[in-house]
C-alpha cells in the first residue's frame, strides 16, 4: 500500500512537471497580450557595473516613451520588460530564461557586460531569440551565432585603432595596465599585438583585479621603465585612480584609455590629472553636437533625468530604436524573432545617435571609430 502510494505520488509529480514544461514551451504562462511584442532588456542594475545599467535603463525608458508618443514602432505595440543581470552570467541567464518563458520576449536587448552577453548568446541561439547588445565588445561575440548582434565594435577594432594612433604619433615604448577580466584582457592583448606588429615595444604589461585601489607599485615600475605612453585598459573608476596616482608619482607621459572612460564620474574622480588623456570612442555620439536628433535626445534626457547623457545612454537609445524600426518593418506581417533577425541581416544603414551603422555577416556593427581627449576638464574631440 505504502509502495503504491509512492508510485502514484511520483507519477503525479511527473505528470505535473511535464504539463508545466509543455505549457511553458507553448508560452501559456506568458504575460504578454496576444497583440503585442515583448522586448526584454537585461542590464546590470546592481553590482559593480550598476552605474552603466541604470544609465541604460533610463535611455530605454525614454526611447520607449518617445516611440509610443510618435507611434514610430508601427501598429504592433511594444512592451518593455527590464531584468537585472547584476553583471553576472548566472544571473543574466536566469533573467533571459524568465524573459523567454514567462514574458515571451521576441527580442532581448543586453547586456552591457561582455561576459553576460556571451553567456546569453547560446540561449538566444537555442531559443531562436534575437539578442542585441548595445555595448558588449568582446571579440568572441563575433562568432556567437546568427541570432546575436551588437551595435558596439569589437575590442579588436578599438584596441587596434588606439595602437595605430599611438604608434603613428611616435609613441613607440608603451606600458600597459589592464583590468583582469574579459574586457581588459582582450583589449590589452589586441593592443599589444598591434603595437608590436607596428615595430613598437611593450615595456611592461600588468593586470589588476576589478576591486583594486592601490596601483602605485606597478606605476613605480613603469616610471623606472620610462615609457612614451601608458595604455590603461579598464573602466572609468579604476582608470581615474590610476591616472591620479600616476600624476602624483610624477609620471608625465601620454596616457591612453578606453571608450569606457567617457563618463562624468571619470572627470569628477580623476580631476585635473585626466587632462590630455586620449581614448577612442566607438560611437560618434557627442552630447554637444548640433545634430537635431542629438539635441532632441540630450534636451529631453536632461529635462527628464537632470543629467547629461553619455555613450551608454546613446547606445541603449539606439538599440531600442533599432528594434523599434525592425518591428515597424516586419511585425505587421511576421512578428517573429526570425523575421527581426532577417531584417537586421539585410537592413539599410541605420541613422543612430552614434552615427550611421549596419551589421556585417557576423552580426558585428560596421561603423568608424573616433578619438577624443579631456581638455579643460571636459571631454572633447581630439584635434
Amino acid at each position: 500500500m505504502k509502495k503504491r502510494g509512492w508510485i502514484i505520488l511520483v507519477g503525479l509529480g511527473l505528470l505535473i512537471a511535464g504539463g508545466l514544461w509543455f505549457a511553458s514551451t507553448r508560452g501559456w504562462f506568458s504575460s504578454r497580450a496576444p497583440n503585442e511584442l515583448t522586448v526584454g532588456v537585461i542590464l546590470p542594475l546592481s553590482g559593480d557595473a550598476a552605474s552603466y545599467g541604470e544609465k541604460g535603463r533610463r535611455a530605454v525608458e525614454m526611447a520607449r516613451d518617445l516611440a509610443a508618443q510618435s507611434n514610430s514602432c508601427g501598429p504592433v505595440p511594444l512592451r518593455v520588460v527590464f531584468e537585472d543581470s547584476a553583471a553576472s552570467p548566472a544571473t543574466g541567464i536566469a533573467a533571459f530564461r524568465k524573459l523567454r518563458s514567462s514574458d515571451g520576449a521576441t527580442v532581448v536587448i543586453g547586456d552591457v557586460v561582455s561576459a553576460v552577453t556571451l553567456a546569453l548568446a547560446p540561449l538566444a541561439e537555442e531559443g531562436h531569440t534575437v539578442l542585441l547588445s548595445p555595448t558588449s565588445s568582446a571579440p568572441a561575440i563575433t562568432n556567437a551565432g546568427p541570432y546575436t548582434f551588437r551595435i558596439w565594435p569589437s575590442d579588436l577594432a578599438e584596441g587596434t585603432a588606439v595602437a595605430e594612433l599611438a604608434t603613428s604619433r611616435g609613441l613607440r615604448r608603451i606600458a600597459v595596465m589592464h583590468m583582469n577580466n574579459d574586457y581588459g584582457t582582450a583589449i590589452a592583448g589586441i593592443f599589444e599585438r598591434t603595437v608590436r606588429a607596428r615595430r613598437g615595444e611593450i615595456v611592461l604589461s600588468a593586470a589588476y583585479n576589478p576591486d583594486t585601489t592601490e596601483f602605485r607599485s606597478t606605476l613605480t615600475r613603469i616610471r623606472a621603465a620610462r615609457p612614451d605612453a601608458i595604455y590603461i585598459a579598464g573602466y572609468f573608476a579604476d582608470t581615474a585612480v590610476i591616472v591620479r596616482q600616476a600624476r602624483a608619482l610624477g609620471i608625465d607621459v601620454q596616457l591612453l584609455g578606453t571608450t569606457a572612460i567617457e563618463d562624468e564620474g571619470f572627470l569628477q574622480s580623476a580631476g585635473s590629472a585626466a587632462e590630455g588623456i586620449i581614448y577612442p570612442l566607438a560611437t560618434g555620439f557627442d552630447a554637444a553636437s548640433t545634430d537635431p536628433a542629438v539635441v532632441r535626445f540630450v534636451t529631453g534626457f536632461r529635462q527628464r533625468f537632470g543629467a547629461t547623457p553619455g555613450w551608454v545612454e546613446a547606445a541603449h537609445y539606439d538599440a531600442f530604436n533599432l528594434v523599434c524600426r525592425a518591428t515597424a518593418a516586419v511585425a505587421p506581417n511576421d512578428p517573429s524573432s526570425d523575421a527581426i533577425r532577417r531584417y537586421f541581416e539585410g537592413m539599410p544603414p541605420f541613422q543612430g545617435l552614434g552615427g550611421t551603422f549596419s551589421f556585417d555577416r557576423n552580426g558585428d556593427v560596421v561603423k568608424p571609430i573616433v578619438f577624443r581627449t579631456v581638455r579643460d576638464g571636459r571631454f572633447a574631440a581630439l584635434r
Binding site: S46, G47, D48, A50, S51, E54, N180, A206, A207, Y208, N209, D211, T212, T213, E214, F215, R216, S217, T218, T220, R221, R223, A224, A237, A240, V241, R244, Q245, R247, A248, L249, G250, G265, Q268, S269, G271, S272, A273
Partner: protein
C-alpha cells in the same frame, strides 16, 4: 633602482598604516564579541561615505572627518547594545552570530548603494599633489596623512592599552571575561567602549584608505579581510603586536608582488605568505611547548 625601492617603501608604509588601524580596530571589537565578525566592515564602509557627504555640504575636510569618526563610535556602541549584547546573552553559537553580522554588513552595503549610488565617488581633497623628497621619491598628501595619523593613533592606542585603567580592564576582559566579571569590572560598559573605539579605528582606516582611491559600496570588504587575517595571526586575543606585524607583512608582500607581477597577484600571494607564517609559527609554538 634605489629610487624605486625607496618609493616602494613609502607605498608599503602607507598601506601598512591603513591595515594596522583596521586590524587594531578589529581586535578591539573581538575582545567582547569573541568571534570574527563582519560588522567590522560597516564602519570601514560608512565612515568615508559620511565624511564625503559632510565635505560636500560644508566644504570642510576636518569637519567631515570628525563627524564621520564620531558617527562610527556612536554606531559601534549602539550596535553592541542593541545587537551583540543581546546575541551574546541569548547563547547563540559564534556561527549564528557571524551570519547575523553578515546580514548587518549586507544591509549597510545596500543602504550606501541606495543613498550614494553604485558609482564611485572621491573624497581626496588634495588632487594629485605630492611632496617631493630626495631620490625623486614622491609622497602624496594622502599617503603622508595616512602614515602620520596611523603612527599617532597606534601610539595613543599603546599608551591607553598599557598605561591606563581602561587598558588594564580591557586586558583583563581579553584574558578571561568570567574572571573580569568576578573582579567587579563593569564588563558591559567596557565592551561597549571597546566596540565604539574599535569602530572609530576601523572608520579611520576606511577614511584613510578611501582617500587615494574611489569609494564604492564594495570597497570595504577587502580591507576587512586583511584585518581579519592580521587578527588571526594575533590569534584574535588582544595580541596587538602580532596583528601589527602581520599587517606589515601583508603590506610589504602586496607592494613587492604588485611591483614584480602586477596588482592582480598582490592579494593572493600576500595571503599565501601569511598562511606559511601561521603554519611556521604554529610549529614553533608546538616545539616550545614540547620542550616545556
Amino acid at each position: 633602482m634605489i629610487e624605486s625601492f625607496a618609493q616602494l617603501g613609502i607605498i608599503a608604509a602607507a598601506s601598512f598604516s591603513v591595515y594596522a588601524l583596521a586590524s587594531l580596530g578589529f581586535l578591539l571589537i573581538y575582545i567582547p564579541a569573541k568571534f570574527f565578525n563582519f560588522t567590522a566592515a560597516v564602519p570601514v564602509l560608512l565612515t568615508p561615505y559620511i565624511a564625503y557627504a559632510v565635505i560636500q555640504r560644508s566644504g570642510s575636510f576636518a569637519l567631515g572627518c570628525l563627524i564621520s569618526l564620531a558617527a562610527a563610535g556612536i554606531l559601534g556602541g549602539f550596535l553592541y547594545q542593541v545587537v551583540f549584547r543581546r546575541l551574546g546573552a541569548s547563547g547563540y553559537s559564534a556561527t549564528i552570530q557571524l551570519v547575523a553580522t553578515l546580514g548587518i554588513y549586507t544591509a549597510a552595503v545596500g543602504v550606501i548603494g541606495l543613498i550614494f549610488g553604485q558609482q564611485s565617488v572621491r573624497i581626496d581633497p588634495f588632487e594629485s599633489e605630492a611632496i617631493l623628497l630626495p631620490l625623486e621619491i614622491r609622497v602624496s598628501f594622502a599617503q603622508a596623512l595616512s602614515i602620520g595619523t596611523a603612527a599617532a593613533a597606534i601610539l595613543c592606542f599603546h599608551v591607553v592599552w598599557r598605561r591606563t585603567e581602561v587598558g588594564l580592564r580591557l586586558r583583563a576582559m581579553a584574558d578571561d571575561m568570567i574572571l573580569a566579571r568576578i573582579l567587579s569590572i563593569p564588563v558591559s560598559r567596557y565592551a561597549m567602549f571597546a566596540f565604539a573605539a574599535g569602530f572609530v579605528l576601523l572608520g579611520l582606516a576606511g577614511v584613510l584608505g578611501g582617500f587615494d582611491s574611489a569609494l564604492r559600496p564594495t570597497f570595504a570588504f577587502p580591507l576587512v579581510v586583511v584585518a581579519m587575517v592580521a587578527a588571526a595571526v594575533g590569534q584574535g586575543n588582544a595580541r596587538f603586536a602580532a596583528a601589527l606585524a602581520a599587517s606589515a607583512v601583508i603590506a610589504i608582500a602586496e607592494t613587492a608582488v604588485a611591483w614584480y607581477a602586477g596588482e592582480a597577484w598582490a592579494r593572493p600571494v600576500s595571503l599565501v605568505c601569511l598562511i606559511v607564517i601561521l603554519v611556521w609559527a604554529g610549529t614553533q609554538r608546538r616545539n616550545s611547548l614540547r620542550q616545556v
